[in-house]
């Protein structure tokens, strides 16, 4: 698998590294950040915590509302993007890059197969 895989709830997951060092980088898509508007705070998961696919991963606070982010895959949190504590707007500016939310060690790679690739996700967003 290369590139990002996407959920219908507008989260992405991207595999980085090889073998034992392989991690899944998780965040929200550009569509999601545009819908949220200006982000002012992000509550991130604690390293060591386990999340299930579809379980709550983070909470994003925009000026007006709080939105939950669900994990696109099951796994253990290796690290969270603490830089967002001071610069939550990174998610607006660069959601697939600097605006990543957490890195996970995945438990079941077959879960990725149920997610959309970039073309499928683009078509999905256009259908909204």
């Amino acid at each position: 698998m290369s590139g990002e895989r996407y959920t219908k709830d507008h989260e992405y997951v991207r595999l980085e590294g090889q073998g034992d060092d392989e991690v899944a980088v998780v965040g929200v898509t550009d569509y999601a950040q545009a819908q949220l508007g200006d982000i002012v705070f992000i509550e991130l998961p604690e390293p060591g915590a386990r999340v299930d696919k579809g379980g709550q991963l983070a909470t994003i606070e925009s000026v007006k509302a709080a939105s939950e982010v669900y994990s696109p895959i099951s796994g253990e949190i290796i690290s969270a993007n603490d830089a967002l504590d001071d610069e939550p707007g990174s998610v607006n500016e660069d959601p697939l890059g600097r605006g990543w939310l957490a890195k996970l060690r995945i438990v079941d790679a077959t879960e990725l197969e149920g997610l959309m690739d970039e073309n499928a996700y683009r078509a999905f967003v256009e259908s909204l």
Binding site: K8, D9, Q35, G37, V40, F41, E61, A66, N92
Partner: protein, 389 residues
Amino acid sequence: MDEHASSPAIAETPTAEPALATTPLDALHRRLGARMAPFAGYSLPLHYPSGVIAEHLHTREKASLFDVSHMGQALLTGRGAARLLETLVPADLESLTPGRTRYTQLLAEDGGILDDLMATRLPGREERLLLVVNAAAKEQDFALLGQELPQLSLTVLAGRALLALQGPRAASVLSRILPGVEEAPFMGWVATEYDGASAFVSRSGYTGEDGFEISIPGHLATGLFERLLAHEDVAPAGLAARDSLRLEAGLCLYGHDIDATTDPVEAGLLWSIGKRRREEGGFPGFARIRAAIDNGPARRRVGLLPQSKAPLRDGAILTAPDGRVVGGVTSGGYSPCLSRPIAMGYAESAFAAPGVRLASELRGKPVEVEVAALPFVPHRYASRGKGRA
């Protein structure tokens, strides 16, 4: 992603909702790239591409243009209109000078607030009041007025758009298009002419800044909106900025900070009840309101500074050091001017003084909350018909 109930969802398209009404500016908002959202049965701009924080700060620095055409506008006409409307609201309207506006509330029999509104006494031989009410309540407000004041004639101005130009540059910008409006004092009102039609201009708003609300026939709204936007000091702003601006200014949002369970005294709106009305009464809920004036209200609307990075939202509880629930949050969000979370809510009067420390909870974690004076950002209304901003 899943946004909480109080605001439009991301993942859900509004197609399942009943058809939304649009304002005369709908096509222009879409052309400007607004993110539209349902509000009070209308499709309205939540924000434009620059985003809510930029729109908010622009309003405080220069001037922003808002479409508030969803609000209800109506004329109440007939002999004794001011005196008769006083039977439903606690403001002193009889002493209101023609061409001046007062803020007041429609009250229920128990003194609860049914809606809040602006009432302007219009110049002219005939006794006329121009009312501007909240969109979500306009149908029931107008039904109530029709039922309770059958001697008067109520004309709903459904075909008129309402634009709000708000910010320190508003007067200098608007005076180029509608000369003379800069002479109006804060809460003053003038009728003028725009493109051959009548324009009603009120020097008021919902941001804490100097500004104007301009009522014109709907078919002229797009032209005026574009003409105002053409000025370098003016940018469009949406409902999200309108909400964050009014929260910084400590102004109530009906349905959140005031509703049928709150009375004007505990809501901190006693200033809007004239001295004569406090003594004479003659409006619904006078007994409760008089008692609250005499004894002090049991609870008060307060400003709140959550000692957290995440905003506290409407519905969060407030507890005293002994763990007892002594209030709750009714509006909460992020202040772009202060770069921190701010909120409003109610606290039992013993806990309502600025500086008092209360506790709340956010997603299961404790949050310390300090009671703060309102407004969070000082009002900068025109002092007296300032010619230039």
